[in-house]
């Protein structure tokens, strides 16, 4: 007999000569399969009816106040002043304003994710430090900042810290960086002629570093002694970068912000709002990441560490070669959630006036009214961003997953 079956055939005589006759299908109202399909059909119908009802209500209510459900309004003039972000002026469309918000969200989320991971890693490892003081300090940090709402933290950073900083012209760090209640201004590298050439040279340094790494690894495989391939690779890269820098005539200078009138000019400027939101998000999320890091290191079986010890590896090696690689695999999915949370929490910037997606949408709704379209657009946007982050983390997850484990 081959192939998947169909239903029993009527004329199948059956073996052993027993009187089989045809297999009767049960009455449809008692037939398990029919009921399953029927159940789904009913469910879908009810769902569609419900959705249609909501939609109809929406349309008629919106119509009654003279608006519609189209997205055309996005092309009309916004008239919204936005303090920071990509180039924009209030005469541009709502769509443009929306885009400004989107970029601002990506900015704060991107920098936030990087900083939060770094701080979280440090705090997580500190939580496990044999040094009692470090351990307790990290614990206090985590317990305090995890249990306070992130909105309260952001508001606090902004109103109680940033706005309390000295006015422009006041505080400075070493005369080159300036903190004020309007934000931070720090020196920033600026390219001169020849910088392009230098950049190319630096890029060329990367494959060179790769070659150096491979060479030293081969030597190590041959002779067994440690040959520090990473150090050599880094050294090669730096050598090329520095040599290139000198050869092209030092084409990069630091732009130091200067006080001009009532503002700073030059350098790189971070608005107070951005700084507050960034600080709030980073400190909050890092506390959660710290717990994840700690949990994942603890979750690596004790036996692994013992086996590493028995093999003669010393603590740093145990950590680097055995514990951390396994801990990382455990930590990636929950850290992904934290990244998504950070991105979504950035919408709280509305409380301090940082013009990201959440606050700009809110303004658009207040001004243009079409709340349905705007909320739908915003939800889809955040959904897409979340998806993008999750896809990246999934790729990372897959690349570190154990081979050959059947899940």
């Amino acid at each position: 007999m081959t192939g998947p079956p169909g239903s029993p055939r009527d004329d199948d005589p059956g073996p052993a000569g027993w009187s089989v006759g045809r297999v009767r299908a049960p009455a449809f109202w008692r037939n398990v399969r029919v009921l399953q399909v029927l159940g789904q059909v009913v469910f879908v119908l009810v769902l569609l009816w419900l959705l249609r009802g909501l939609y109809e209500n929406l349309r008629s209510s919106v119509g009654r106040i003279g608006l519609d459900l189209s997205f055309d309004f996005l092309q009309t003039r916004a008239g919204i002043p936005i303090k920071e972000g990509i180039s924009y002026d209030p005469n541009q469309s709502y769509l443009r304003a929306y885009l400004v918000g989107l970029v601002n969200t990506l900015r704060v989320a991107g920098v936030g994710i990087v900083l939060a991971t770094t701080l979280g890693l440090i705090a997580g490892v500190a939580r496990l430090s044999p040094n009692w003081l470090i351990r307790r300090t990290a614990q206090v940090y985590v317990e305090v900042f995890r249990n306070t709402p992130v909105l309260v933290q952001i508001v606090f950073w902004y109103f109680a810290v940033i706005l309390a900083l000295p006015v422009i012209g006041g505080g400075s760090l070493g005369g080159v960086a300036f903190l004020s209640n309007r934000g931070t201004a720090i020196p920033w590298p600026r390219g001169e002629p020849g910088a392009g050439v230098w950049a190319l040279l630096v890029l060329a340094g990367i494959p060179l570093a790769g070659l150096a790494h491979r060479w030293r690894t081969r030597v190590n495989e041959r002779i067994g002694e440690p040959t520090r391939p990473l150090a050599w690779a880094a050294g090669a890269f730096l050598a090329v970068a520095i040599a290139g820098f000198v050869l092209t005539g030092s084409p990069v200078r630091f732009d130091v912000p200067e006080l001009v009138g009532r503002r700073y000019e030059g350098g790189f400027q971070l608005s107070g709002e951005f700084t507050a939101v960034l600080l709030g998000l980073v400190v909050y999320t890092a506390a959660f990441i710290a717990e994840i890091v700690r949990g994942s290191i603890l979750a690596v079986e004790k036996g692994q560490k013992e086996a590493a010890m028995a093999l003669g590896l010393h603590p740093a090696q145990q950590l680097r070669l055995v514990v951390l690689p396994q801990a990382m695999r455990i930590a990636i999915p929950p850290i992904n959630s934290q990244f998504l949370n950070l991105t979504k929490n950035s919408s709280l910037a509305v409380a301090v006036g940082y013009p990201e997606l959440g606050s700009i949408s809110s303004t658009i709704i207040n001004q243009a009214g079409r709340a349905t379209q705007v909320t739908l657009l915003v939800m889809l946007t955040y959904l897409t961003i979340s998806l993008a982050i999750s896809v990246c983390m999934n790729l990372l997850n897959r690349s570190v997953a154990y081979r050959g484990v059947r899940r």
Binding site: Q40, W132, I134, T148, V155, T375, Y382
Partner: protein
């Protein structure tokens, strides 16, 4: 040469056996100096770290303490305490809140005692608790004015004590009644607050508003979340797709956007004539948001139930509903209690977003109370609001950790 080394202590076994048995010296407890050495200065790197960290922490710590105790004026908090706690809840009806609090206190005390927990009294814990008690007392003495509130607070302590006594007396037998009690406490509290000429949700405020919205959110999202989780695991594609779609869509957007939805879009979706108050719409949105997360948590719990359980149930002839209700869900929910508590803590913290939508919750009070005489005291009010949130969240998190440890021991 066989036999124990020279000088090792000799023990005479009771049976008269004269063979000496070498006993290792008992572990000598570390003196304070040695303990310090081991924990903080075990190596030069460690020592350097300790000194560096110590200086930093010390500096920040004393700066913070100096500001908090000397520089800052906390009168703004004392003057607005009632606002912080209950917002503009009419004072004449405040007894309702006290009644609800007493009820919860008795339940909490009984639950704690019935679970067999006992306070441990090691020297360090005694010291810690004494300091905490003293600090709290000092803080309260500063904040609270008048005899009445002190009487009410002492009464609260007595209520907890009563609960503990009941719990100790009943122990295991009380588990079921207590569970019913907690489940019933939700509608009872609502009736207490709203019923019989009470105060509708529109007038709630302060910390109580945050608590109530969180509690309503959790209770209401529980059944919805379980349904969504079951739907997501359904073998029927239509139901599974719908569940997944809803869960991912709700989780994909920030709560703030959903609150905007509840504020601006939901009213249009409702049939004309149905006018829900703002706070109710916010609660609906919070419930929806919470359900998606509860669904994911319960789904994880369902996955943890051995598939053999389904088979045994079916072989016994249990119908699907009975199978789910009597066998699968109880196990799934038990597995996920710590995660559910963690979610409740998050939900509670998220209620601070009500401030941004214009509701008068604890955070909003913190923002608006520094006026007039108290102009510029924003730091104090914000810190106090943060403290209120923190106390609730931290206690729940501690409780959850304890629960996790006890459940994880696998008594069953």
């Amino acid at each position: 040469m066989i036999g124990p080394p020279e000088g090792s202590p000799r023990v005479v076994l009771a049976g008269g056996d004269e063979r000496a048995v070498a006993i290792a010296p008992a572990a000598v407890p570390l003196t304070p100096a040695e303990s310090l050495r081991q924990n903080l200065f075990s190596s030069w790197w460690n020592g350097a770290l300790t000194i560096g960290a110590g200086l930093l922490v010390g500096y920040l710590g004393q700066a913070l303490l100096r500001w908090a105790l000397v520089t800052a004026d906390w009168d703004v908090v004392a003057a607005n305490l009632r606002l912080f706690m209950i917002g503009r809840f009419p004072v004449a009806e405040a007894w309702r809140i006290w009644a609800a609090t007493y009820l919860i206190a008795v339940l909490a005390g009984a639950s704690w005692a019935a679970s067999g927990a006992r306070l441990r009294w090691t020297p360090s814990l005694i010291a810690l608790r004494a300091i905490a008690a003293a600090a709290t007392l000092a803080f309260l003495l500063f904040l609270l004015d008048g005899l009445r509130i002190w009487v009410l607070l002492v009464g609260l302590g007595a209520a907890v004590g009563l609960g503990v006594a009941i719990g100790r007396a009943g122990a295991r037998r009380l588990v079921r009644p207590l569970l019913i009690g907690w489940a019933a406490s939700f509608p009872v509290v609502i009736v207490l607050l709203v019923g019989f000429g009470g105060v509708p949700p529109q007038r709630w405020g302060g910390l109580v508003l945050n608590l109530l919205v969180a509690v309503v959110g959790i209770f209401a999202s529980f059944p919805v979340g379980i349904l969504l989780a079951l739907g997501r695991r359904s073998a029927l594609p239509a139901i599974q797709l719908a569940s997944v779609g809803l869960i991912e869509f709700v989780r994909g957007a920030p709560l703030y956007i959903w609150l905007l939805f509840g504020e601006f879009v939901l009213p249009f979706m409702l049939p004309a004539g149905l006018d829900l108050p703002r706070i109710v719409r916010a609660m609906i949105v919070v419930t929806l948001f919470s359900s998606a997360y509860v669904a994911e948590i319960v789904r994880g719990g369902l996955q943890g139930v051995h598939h053999g359980q389904y088979e045994a149930g079916r072989a016994l002839g249990l119908s699907t509903t009975r199978l789910m209700g009597l066998v699968v869900l109880p196990q799934a929910l038990r597995n996920t209690i710590p995660a559910l508590i963690g979610h409740f803590i998050s939900l509670f913290k998220d209620t601070s977003l009500l401030a941004v939508i214009g509701f008068i919750d604890a955070l909003r009070i913190a923002r608006i109370s520094p006026q007039g005489v108290f102009q510029g005291d924003l730091k104090q009010t914000l810190l106090f609001a943060a403290l209120l949130f923190w106390i609730v969240a931290f206690s729940m998190s501690r409780w959850s950790q304890r629960l996790e440890r006890r459940l994880g021991v696998g008594e069953r």
